[in-house]
Symmetry: C2
Subunit: 395 residues, 2 copies
C-alpha cells in the first residue's frame, strides 16, 4: 500500500509571523482529530506536526523567510475526497490569512511512494519526472543487468535496463535519429550494430535492403524480452537471429571488433547503440580490465546514479588505469573497422549534459585517426528530455 | 530561500518491526544533533520526527505494511555534502538492516519548494514533472490572463498562460502538426487562424506564400511578449501586425466569426490555435454569456486546475445554459466560414485524456453540418506528453 504525499506551498513577498498564521489553521487539523506537536526550531520559524488516528501525518511550517509549506501523508486506500477537503480547507484559509502577501501558490500532484509500479524515472540531468506507467510487464536479472519492461499508456512498453529507461515502443524517433535521420542510404551496405538488442534499428534497416547487417549484443535475455514485449519496436525481426541480410551475434562486442580489425574487415556503417551503462568486462593481457562501454564517460559527470555490474571471475585482478584510455580504445576499434568513406553513428547524451557532451567531443579529437563529426538534437517521446545524436567520419 | 525536500523509500517484501529497525538509525540523527519526537500512530507503525538546529526536519516512518520512508527537509543554502552524507548514511544502514527484504530502494531528486523560478508544470493528466526552467523572463497580468515567459535550457523560452504551458521555442513540431504535418499546401490560400498570438503558425505559413492569412487574437500583451521573447517561434513576423499576405486582428474571435458568417466569407483553412483555457465572454441577446473557447470542454474532465478569467461588466447577468451548446456554437461558426473543400485544423488534448478526446469527437458528430475527421499523435518537445491533433472537413 503506497504512501501518497501531498504538498501545498505559499511563497510570500514578505515573512509572516506564525502567531498571525497558525492559530486560525489549527481548527482544520482538529476537525480531522489530528494531534499537534510543536517543535523547537531555533529561530527557523514555526514547525508543527499533526498525526491522525488513520496514520495521516501533516506538517505545517511557517518558515522565517516568507514561505509557508504544508505536507500531508496519507495512504493510497484512503478517501481522496477527505484528503482534498483537508487541503482545500487549508488552501482557502491560508489565502485569507496571507491575502496581499502571496506571490505563488503551488499544490503539486501527490508523490506516490512505494507503489507497486514505479512511475518515477528521473532525467539524465536529475530532474524529477513522473511517467504514466501502469504495469510491470516483465522483470528479470540477467548475468549482466536488471531488465524491466513497463507498460505506459502513451508510450507503449518501455525497456528499462538497470533502472535506466532505454527505449519505448513509441520511440521510432530514436531509431531514425541513430540511423542518421534519413540522410543515409543503407541499400546494399555492410552495417555493424553494437548493442541494438531491442531490434529497432534492424527492423527499420532491413526495409532498405542492406547487403548485411551484423548485430553484436551481449545479453540474450534482453533480446528475448524485446522479441516478446517490444514488438512495436522490433516487429518480428527478432524471431530469427539470422535472416537473408542480417545476423545477430550474442557476444561481447570487444573481441568481435578485435577479430574484425585483425581480419581487415570493414563496414560502411558502424552504429553504436550500446546502453549507456557498462555491463561487461573482459580479461586482457594477463590481468582483468573493466570494460566500460563507449558511452560510459558521458555519465561520469552526470547526476545519474549508476550501478556497475562487474562480473569478476575468481583470482582476476581489477585494474582500471584510465577510463578515458579505455573509451578511446573502444572508439578506436570502431573507427578501425569503418570503411574510409563510412560513417560511425551513435547516440550521445541529453542536450542538457553540456559538460559530458563537451568531454565526448574532446575525445573524438584524440583518436589515432582524425575524424570529423556533426550532431543533431532530437526529441525522443519517452525520454522527456532532448537528446543529442552524433555522426562521425574519417577525415 | 527555497526548501529542498528529499525522500528515500524502501519497499519491502514483508512488514518489519520498528524495534528491529529504528534503534540502529537513531545514532545517525543524533550525530546531526537532531532532536527526536516519537508520535503515537494508533497502529500505523513507527513515526519519528527529528529537528535540527539549522531548521532541518527529518521524518522516519516504518509503516505497518512493508514500507520504510524517510523525508528530509533542508534549505537551498545548506551544505549539500552534509545532506548527501546524512542520506547516504541512512541508505547504507537501512540496506544492512533490511537486507534480504528489499524489493525497491528509491531516492528521488529533491523537490524544490518555494524557489524563485517555478520548475513544476504538471502534465494535463496531472503527473508531476520538473522542467529545467532557470529564469523568469517576463511576467504580466493582461486584462485576460496571467502571462509568463520562462527560460529553459533545452526548450528556449516558453510561453505560459494562466499557469498552462502553451508553447516553447523548441516546439516547431506543434506548429507543423497544427498545420497538418506537411499534408496541406497553403500557397494562394485564404486562411483564418483563431488564437495563434505567438506567431508560430504565421511565421511558417508565409513561407508558402498564402493569398491572405487572418489571425484573430484577443490579447495584445501576448503578441507583444512573443514578439520580444519568443523569436525562436515567430521570427520577425510579429514586428508588423499587417504584411503583404497577412493581417493580425487584435479582437475577440467570436464577433469576427459572426461577421464573416453574415458576409458569407469563407476560408480554405480555419486553424483553431486558441489557448485551452477560456479567457473571454461576450454579451449576447440581452444577457451575458460566458464564452468558453472551443477547447474548454476538453479540460472539463481533466485533472487540470482551471481558472476562469471572467470579465464581468456591471449589471450583466451571468448565464451558462449548457457548456456543450456553446462549444458546438463556436465549432459551428468555424465550420460555417469554411469553404466546402476546406479544412479545419486544431490541437486536441493530451493522448492520455482519452475521455475528453472521446467527448470532443462526439461533439464533432453533432454539428449542424456533417463532418469527417482524422487525428494524429505528435510529440511536442516541451509538453512531456503525447499530443493529439485533428483535421476536420465537411462531408
Amino acid at each position: 500500500m503506497a504512501l501518497r504525499h501531498y504538498t501545498l506551498d505559499f511563497k510570500l513577498s514578505a515573512a509572516v509571523d506564525s502567531s498571525s498564521t497558525v492559530p486560525d489553521l489549527l481548527s482544520i487539523f482538529h476537525e480531522q482529530e489530528m494531534t499537534e506537536t510543536v517543535h523547537e526550531t531555533n529561530g527557523h520559524g514555526y514547525l508543527g506536526t499533526f498525526v491522525g488516528k488513520n496514520g495521516w501525518l501533516a506538517i505545517l511550517r511557517v518558515h522565517s523567510h516568507g514561505l509557508v509549506t504544508v505536507d500531508l501523508q496519507c495512504y493510497e486506500e484512503d478517501d481522496f475526497a477527505q484528503v482534498d477537503n483537508l487541503l482545500n480547507a487549508l488552501e482557502s484559509k491560508l489565502k485569507v490569512i496571507l491575502n496581499g502577501n502571496i506571490t505563488r501558490i503551488k499544490r503539486l500532484p501527490a508523490l506516490v511512494r512505494g507503489a507497486e509500479v514505479d512511475r518515477y524515472w528521473p532525467t539524465t540531468d536529475n530532474r524529477l519526472v513522473e511517467y504514466d506507467m501502469d504495469q510491470l510487464v516483465y522483470e528479470e536479472d540477467s548475468a549482466f543487468q536488471n531488465i524491466k519492461i513497463l507498460h505506459s499508456q502513451q508510450y507503449g512498453n518501455a525497456l528499462i535496463l538497470d533502472n535506466d529507461l532505454n527505449l519505448a515502443e513509441s520511440d521510432l524517433a530514436y531509431t531514425l535519429a541513430i540511423m542518421g535521420s534519413g540522410r543515409e542510404n543503407y541499400t546494399g551496405k555492410e552495417v555493424l550494430i553494437l548493442g541494438g538488442g531491442d531490434g529497432g534499428i534492424l527492423s527499420e534497416m532491413v526495409k532498405q535492403k542492406p547487403k548485411m547487417v551484423t548485430i553484436v549484443h551481449i545479453d540474450q535475455k534482453v533480446i528475448d524480452a524485446c522479441k516478446k514485449y517490444m514488438r512495436g519496436t522490433c516487429g518480428n525481426i527478432l524471431d530469427n537471429l539470422k535472416g537473408d541480410c542480417y545476423q545477430i551475434l550474442v557476444e561481447d562486442c570487444v573481441p568481435v571488433l578485435k577479430k574484425y580489425v585483425q581480419e581487415g574487415k570493414t563496414f560502411d556503417y558502424v552504429i553504436n547503440d550500446l546502453t549507456a551503462i557498462p555491463i561487461s568486462m573482459e580479461p586482457e593481457e594477463g590481468f582483468c580490465i573493466v570494460f566500460f562501454f563507449l558511452h560510459f564517460f558521458l555519465y561520469l559527470t552526470s547526476g545519474h546514479k549508476m550501478r556497475l555490474n562487474l562480473i569478476l571471475k575468481p583470482c582476476e585482478l581489477l585494474v582500471v588505469d584510465s577510463t578515458w584510455e579505455f573509451l578511446r580504445l573502444i572508439l578506436d576499434l570502431s573507427i578501425k573497422v569503418l570503411h574510409p568513406s563510412g560513417k560511425y553513428l551513435t547516440q550521445g547524451n541529453a542536450e542538457n549534459m553540456t559538460e559530458s557532451l563537451g568531454l565526448y567531443e574532446e575525445q573524438l579529437g584524440r583518436l589515432s585517426c582524425p575524424v570529423g563529426f556533426s550532431k543533431e538534437v532530437v526529441c525522443v517521446p519517452s525520454y522527456l528530455e532532448q537528446w543529442v545524436f552524433y555522426s562521425v567520419w574519417k577525415k
